[in-house]
């Protein structure tokens, strides 16, 4: 009978663990493939700006001359597009949601440690980097 069905459910939930999670006091559930936040291995980045062109939320800003890669976390919708188009695979999607904040904006700015390449015209930078990577193999 329906009455006893709800009675059974209520008594069972009195003696078992709560089904709700005390988020954000406890961390959120996550699985291996959860899309949580985007991370960049900045020292391998070649600043081709493919991720900036493909991002549907216009959240990434790449400055080739200053060697910086900037992500506006509030704009990012975790679509995984940038990770898929990156030619050197330095971007990856990690689990773990971004913590809530009280600031009005949140940007992740990453600057590459390597010194900028000596005054080379922009159009040839990618070709030069590729040649530099290929050179040791030829020896």
């Amino acid at each position: 009978m329906a009455l006893f069905q709800m009675g059974k459910t209520i008594i069972r939930s009195m003696f078992s663990r709560p089904a709700t999670l005390m988020y954000p006091a406890r961390p959120a559930k996550k699985f291996r493939d959860t899309r949580g936040h985007v991370e960049n291995d900045i020292n391998r980045c070649i600043f081709c700006a493919a991720c900036q062109r493909k991002c549907p939320a216009v959240a990434i800003c790449v400055d080739r001359n200053a060697r910086t890669w900037e992500l506006d976390v509030f704009r990012c919708v975790l679509c995984n597009c940038c990770v898929e188009v990156c030619p050197v695979k330095c971007l990856r999607m990690e689990t773990g949601y971004t913590q809530p904040t009280t600031e009005p904006e949140m940007k992740v700015v990453m600057k590459q440690d390597k010194p900028a390449p000596a005054a080379a015209p922009e159009a040839n930078t990618i070709k030069q980097e590729a040649r530099k990577r290929a050179r040791p193999k030829k020896k």
């Binding site: 329906a2 089904a19 291996r32 493939d33 899309r35 995984n80």
Partner: protein, 359 residues
């Protein structure tokens, strides 16, 4: 002549999941007329087609609605694939079907929970959402997102589900089905719930068909209308029969949704048995040139995606006609003649998804 007053219902109301405004014309306690008013969450998504290339526009379309997100993405991809004549691999079709049916189960459990909450039956609401949590966890584990799965892309799916995860999901499905059975038994057999749902919000078969109602709203009145029978994705290879009920009242529509939950579980099991190995995406080149109407069955009814391309990477026109848009005239018809206290239940029984309606 009895005095008539106008009561505004919404856009903020405890039962409404999304903002909808109705001006109810009342004579004493009976509603004689209703005027719907939408437009509180209009985001102009169809205009954004001019600023996003057709390969990226799928992310915008997925975010039209949170509850029906997977099937929106699926329908868009189907429209573009049909214009460009891209052959999607078999495994991708089966994965899309599995994702759609999980999405349907999640949506029906959400709606039934909200309907119970609208009646004041909070413990049933919590119990149904507890089961929904398990479904949403399975979607996150396999596809990557709880609400926005981000799976479909033009040419296939972006992510594969490996055999081990699929096996685990099927093993859990038996337990989920048992729990659904016991809780929805309460919804369909309990005396006070039946008293609130039976003979409330009646719409006849001819009226439902003439006003253009779709989905469980139409199937609850006996109108045979299930777009899955068109055979898109892998539905052509799965055996299932559309669920029909005769009453035309809120109880019939709820019963349709409950029976569709079990039907979805059965379809998922059939897909998991038949899914072949192979690639999950097809490469393509070029831009769409042509037009197509892609029709799919969302949890709330028939949705149509119309895409028109002119050979450039930006589509010329994209239009979504969502199921709630077609159900609103039927809702207005149902509201005439009911009591004021029944209005929230009737609105919840058509399952309004206003963010879909207004894009």
């Amino acid at each position: 002549m009895p005095k008539r007053i106008v009561i505004p219902f919404g856009p903020q109301h405890p039962v409404l999941p999304e903002p909808l405004h109705l001006d109810l014309v009342l004579e004493d306690e009976k509603v004689v007329d209703a005027l719907p008013s939408i437009g509180y969450v209009h985001r102009g998504l169809e205009k954004l087609v001019e600023k996003r290339q057709f390969t990226e526009y799928v992310y915008v379309i997925e975010r039209t609605c949170g509850i029906c997100s997977f099937i929106h993405g699926l329908s868009y991809c189907q429209a573009i694939e049909e214009i460009m004549k891209i052959e999607v691999p078999e495994r991708a079709l089966y994965l899309r079907t599995i994702g759609s049916e999980y999405s349907r189960m999640h949506s029906h459990l959400l709606t039934l929970g909200l309907l119970a909450d609208g009646m004041g039956f909070e413990s049933l609401f919590m119990g149904l959402w507890k089961i929904r949590e398990r479904i949403v966890d399975r979607m996150e584990e396999s596809l990557g997102g709880r609400v926005i799965q981000g799976t479909c892309k033009v040419g296939g799916v972006r992510k594969d589900i490996d055999g081990e995860t699929l096996g685990r999901m099927m093993a859990e499905m038996d337990d989920i089905e048992k729990q659904i059975k016991s809780l929805t038994g309460v919804l369909l057999k309990d005396g006070s719930v039946k008293h609130r749902l039976k003979k409330v919000g009646v719409i006849s078969k001819d009226d439902a068909y003439g006003l253009g109602a779709v989905g469980p709203t139409a199937r609850g009145s006996g109108v045979l209308n299930d777009m899955r029978k068109l055979g898109y994705a892998a539905y052509g290879r799965i055996k299932f029969a559309p669920v029909l009920e005769d009453g035309g009242d809120c109880y019939a529509r709820t019963a349709v949704r409950v029976r569709e939950l079990f039907q979805s579980a059965d379809i998922i099991r059939q897909c998991a048995k038949k899914i072949p190995d192979g690639p999950v995406e097809a490469r393509f080149a070029g831009c769409p040139h042509g037009e197509f109407f892609s029709r799919v069955e969302q949890p709330r009814g028939e949705a149509i995606h119309y895409a028109k391309g002119d050979g450039t990477p930006y589509l010329q026109r994209f239009r979504i006609r969502t199921p709630t848009f077609a159900n609103i005239p039927a809702l207005v018809h149902m509201l005439k003649g009911c009591e004021l206290a029944d209005v929230p239940i009737i609105i919840m029984s058509i399952d309004p998804c206003i963010s879909c309606t207004e894009r």
